[in-house]
């Protein structure tokens, strides 16, 4: 692999974004109560530069970095690519790196770990010493974890999991979070810790390098510490926690260590969610008891403000879900041309391009997609043919509206795994994470006669001889039209 020059920490990433014009330094004081959240939200809705807020009310010495990966430009910067790289180019690079050899992390001494510059233990532990923001007015609490990694390890198998499970500050030593039963951590709790009444050690890492955050957000089967190495081209630097055996990113801005309580729950939510709504009900959820906080000098908290498109939850999750499904479908030998999830679908719709070489190929794709580990995160699959540009919504929408048979092309799957976050779900379905799925098959049936039954697409590219097309293009400005790309 050629040398990758990706930002190795949140601080390097901020500098790279500022240099590229993709982050702004905000010097004036910003309030942690709503104002910081409102700035991030507006930046997301405008697709504007990421706000680096250097002065936080009540919290001298701390700063915020909002909307870290809510544009493809910042995603390209995080990968060490040209910010102007196209989405297919970024996707190709992601696939290349994540199909390479795993790169194991290295354990560094605590003296070489910036996250150990300040350590709070015992009576000093108080989450309120951190500038935990009230992200949206009306949220159930101040959210510690919106762009972070919750680190856990399976006590028997040793599997390490970094997951982005939202965490609300309940009091100075307690957080509550949304951990869905189908998630890696949810399964770990239900299969091991809860039946035994044992606490599960955890560590929350905030202010990660952008590629560590990308790994925590990606639904990849590769252990996240190795995935970070593959994405960045060098081993991730980890350090032991102070109060448990977990290993955390040494260059993170803030580490919160503690235990997940098997026998105690406090309320969590409501919260503004990636779907663009507050949907999931306030409920008693997984509860995290904090035993230690460590942080860098002048620590920067990262904030993702989820809401209407587009924020990094939608953009990065769509990106990684789409590419992980692409890997899965290719591994099964299905002749796909690509997979794309538009972030504005709030990662609910997979668009799959395929060469329709046999009957039932769209159903096969949908069953694999919905039946995989990725499945609970989306509920629509749209399959188009290899002549349709999956990145061009105009083409996809045209295919959907004209080729998807209302009676034969829409396939519904009931009683699947869902999430409490689905805005369309009934209150009962939300409570029990019950879902439904739908396939939109936009392929011409293979048993139609290709000459007489399949309609001909009437477009400039498709119905005119090449010499006519060339002549028209060559004379376009001579006809009086402005030059087009």
């Amino acid at each position: 692999m050629s040398k990758i020059s990706a930002p190795r920490s949140n601080r390097e990433f901020i500098e790279a974004c500022v240099k590229a014009g993709d982050a702004v330094r905000i010097k004036q004081e910003v309030d942690w109560e709503n104002e910081a959240g409102a700035i991030v939200r507006r930046a997301c809705e405008l697709g504007a530069a990421a706000p680096f807020m250097e002065k936080i009310k009540d919290y001298p010495g701390f700063s915020y970095f909002g909307a870290p990966l809510s544009t493809y430009r910042r995603m390209a910067i995080s990968l060490g690519m040209d910010p102007a790289s196209s989405l297919p180019e970024i996707g190709k690079e992601y696939l290349k790196r994540t199909n390479s050899e795993p790169i194991a992390p290295v354990l560094v001494d605590r003296k070489d770990a910036p996250c150990k510059e300040n350590i709070l233990l015992g009576a000093d532990v108080d989450l309120c010493k951190l500038p935990v923001p009230l992200v949206h007015d009306g949220d159930g609490g101040r959210y510690v974890g919106t762009w972070h990694a919750v680190v856990t390890k399976h006590p028997v198998r040793g599997d390490v999991n970094w997951g982005m499970y939202r965490q609300m500050m309940f009091d100075g030593r307690t957080m509550s979070g949304a951990v869905f039963p189908f998630s890696d951590l949810g399964k770990q709790l239900s299969e091991y810790y809860l039946p035994r009444g044992l606490s599960c050690p955890f560590a929350t890492a905030i202010g990660l390098s952008p590629l560590a955050a990308m790994a925590a957000c990606a639904p990849s089967p590769i252990p996240e510490p190795e995935l970070v190495g593959m994405l960045s081209g060098e081993p991730a630097r980890l350090v032991k926690c102070e109060t448990n055996d977990l290993e955390v990113p040494a260059d993170a801005e803030i580490i919160i260590e503690g235990e997940i309580c098997p026998d105690y729950k406090v309320e969590e939510g409501p919260f503004g969610e990636y779907t663009g709504y507050r949907t999931s009900p306030r409920d008693f959820r997984v509860t995290f008891r904090v035993n230690c906080i460590t942080y860098r000098n002048n620590a920067t908290m990262t904030i993702s403000n989820m809401g209407v498109p587009q924020d990094e939850g939608q953009l990065l999750r769509s990106f990684s879900l789409g590419l992980e499904l692409e890997k899965l479908l290719r591994s099964q030998g299905i002749p796909i041309t690509g997979v794309y999830m538009h972030p504005r679908s709030t990662h609910h719709m997979m668009i799959v391009g395929v060469k329709p070489t046999y009957a039932g190929i769209a159903q096969q794709i949908a069953q694999l997609a919905f039946g995989s580990k990725l499945g609970p995160w989306f509920h629509m699959v749209m399959v188009v043919d290899d002549q349709t540009d999956i990145y061009n919504w105009d083409e996809v929408y045209h295919a959907f509206c004209t080729r998807c048979h209302p009676a034969n092309g829409i396939h519904i799957y009931k009683n699947t795994t869902g999430t409490p976050l689905y805005p369309y779900a009934t209150p009962h379905e939300r409570k029990y994470s019950i879902g439904s799925k739908v396939l939109f098959d936009c392929l011409w049936p293979v048993d139609w006669d290709k000459t007489n039954d399949v309609p001909t697409t009437v477009s400039f590219k498709n119905v005119y001889p090449q010499d006519i097309q060339d002549r028209v293009l060559a004379n376009w400005t001579a006809y009086g039209y402005p030059q087009t790309k």
Partner: protein
């Protein structure tokens, strides 16, 4: 006077004249704003009835126009002692 806030799904959860067990969060300014306590308390729509004020939000964060006074009788320790 302390300012508190509570989330309810239905206003009937705030029955007046009875001892209630609620999770309420402080709205007092400072570092601990929005942190919660489990309390045994009484509430009243008569704002002069009890010493503190209680603001109400509904299940999805909507602020209610209803205002209450509240008397916190005691803090309830629900958390097992082993986590203290």
């Amino acid at each position: 006077m302390n300012q508190w806030e509570v989330f309810v799904m239905d206003m009937s959860e705030l029955a007046e004249g009875k001892d209630l067990a609620l999770s309420i969060r402080t709205l007092n300014p400072g570092h601990h704003k929005y942190t919660y306590k489990h309390v045994r308390c009484q509430v009243s729509s008569n704002l002069d009835q009890h010493p503190d004020r209680l603001q109400v939000r509904m299940g999805r964060g909507q602020l209610s126009a209803a205002k209450f006074s509240i008397k916190v009788i005691e803090e309830i320790q629900r958390m097992p002692a082993k986590y203290a």
